[in-house]
């Protein structure tokens, strides 16, 4: 799941606190690590967290639910409830607790009440969509999500989720449209650009692959170290060269672009792992990269 997995049981208190904060801000889903960090490091002296304590409890509670650690989630909710009796944010955690236990009806009733009490808060509506997804009702989930987006059109996370759901349904055209909406909120985000390019490339057909190539180029411009975008350029250019309806001029252009991207890929491998470190593996990689070139 995560490449840089490390042992979180032995870190210092301050380090653990920083890590939790970073994950909170990045919206990273590292539930197992959060639970581990809480149980081995932070729970030793919760009061040292001071102002942060309640946010950390909320984070740990959701992480615990994600790991099916009902006991821990229960403990967090109890602590938060003592601090904020009658808070709707704590109530939402409770509903999530029922969700995790599969008591859908109870959870739905709570969300219903929360939405009536605060109609402008998108978080509860999003949970209802998530509940449908949790029950495996993907099509209903899509329908609910589209409805949600009608009122909250700038919710980029919802658009992103919609795109993922359409991808799961193999509806590439709609997935691309949803991804375009995400891109509108952050036009210079190379990851979104690359994702959209991936979708267009998967969709296939000359026109779409041409668009995909343009998006890959743009993604590369904003993030010159993006190896996947480089590979994307090579693949889409190679595909375009192989299509029947392409003028010789264009063909030459695609081949030059692919060759340039391949040169950059080799350069990148060279800089990350120089030949001296592992000559055999290095030559294998270079061989494989060179093998992608069309002559």
């Amino acid at each position: 799941m995560v490449a840089d997995r490390r042992d979180w049981t032995t870190v210092s208190f301050e380090e653990g606190r920083e890590a939790l904060k970073e994950w909170r801000e990045e919206h990273a889903r590292r539930s197992e690590e959060v639970v581990e960090l809480w149980e081995h490091v932070l729970s030793r002296s919760p009061s040292s967290l001071a102002d942060e304590l309640c946010t950390v409890y909320e984070q740990v509670c959701i992480a615990a639910l994600d790991c099916s650690r009902t006991d821990l989630a229960h403990e967090c909710i109890n602590a938060l409830h003592k601090r904020f009796p009658g808070s709707s944010r704590v109530l939402r955690l409770q509903a999530m607790f029922y969700e995790a236990r599969g008591q859908w009806k109870t959870a739905d009733d709570i969300y219903e009440k929360l939405i009536t009490a605060d109609e402008t808060n998108p978080a509860y509506r999003k949970r209802r969509v998530a509940m449908l997804l949790g029950q495996g009702k993907r099509l209903e989930g899509i329908k609910a999500l589209v409805e949600h987006l009608e009122s909250f059109i700038t919710d980029s996370e919802a658009w992103l989720q919609l795109s993922e759901l359409y991808l799961a349904e193999s509806d590439y055209a709609r997935a691309a449209h949803a991804m375009e909406e995400v891109l509108l909120t952050a036009p210079t985000n190379s990851i979104y650009l690359r994702r959209l390019a991936d979708i267009r490339y998967t969709q296939g057909g000359q026109e779409n692959v041409e668009v995909a190539r343009a998006y890959y180029e743009q993604a590369l411009k904003f993030s010159p170290v993006d190896l996947r975008a480089l590979y994307g350029i090579v693949l889409s250019c190679n595909t375009l060269v192989a299509t029947a309806r392409v003028t010789p001029d264009k063909k030459r252009e695609y081949m030059t672009a692919a060759a340039a991207a391949l040169a950059r890929i080799q350069e990148r491998y060279e800089s990350v792992e120089p030949e001296a470190a592992n000559p055999e593996e290095h030559s294998n990689i270079m061989e494989a990269v060179r093998g992608m070139e069309i002559h």
């Binding site: 990273a28 959701i62 099916s68 909710i77 409770q94 509940m131 997804l133 989720q161 993030s223 170290v225």
Partner: protein, 128 residues
């Protein structure tokens, strides 16, 4: 954003000379203005306005300096979006936490779930 406004042409020797001369002219204009005020004070004349030649020299050297210096400074750099986003991974960017569901293998891996699932636990602090 990438931009190639006035910085498209590379800086030449001429641009550097013009920039240097304009700086000198601008400093000179300032010095002239100070000298003029000193002269007025010594001859006890009231100050009304700066002579036209000093004003003209100031404006002309300023405009030339602006123009020449944009060439000396070189082309505009694109804003590095990768500093903000390059470090991030799709795992984090595409995780959509608000829509996270809990129906996955964690239930099988959890040490407590199998024990708990038989009981109908309800947390008794619902206070609507």
């Amino acid at each position: 954003m990438p931009s190639s406004a006035s910085g498209s042409a590379p800086a030449t020797f001429l641009h550097k000379v013009i920039a240097a001369v304009s700086i000198a002219a601008l400093v000179h204009a300032g010095y002239s203005a100070a000298q003029h005020r000193l002269y007025l004070r010594l001859t006890e004349q009231p100050f009304t306005a700066l002579p036209a030649d000093i004003v003209a020299q100031t404006l002309a050297s300023l405009i030339f300096l602006c123009w020449a210096y944009t060439h000396v400074a070189g082309a505009f750099q694109p804003i590095r979006a990768d500093i903000a986003n390059g470090r991030r991974k799709w795992d984090d960017v595409g995780s959509c936490l608000s829509f996270a569901t809990f129906e996955h293998r964690a239930k099988a891996l959890s040490p407590t779930y199998a024990f708990d699932s038989g009981r109908s636990v309800s947390i008794l602090l619902l206070l609507f």
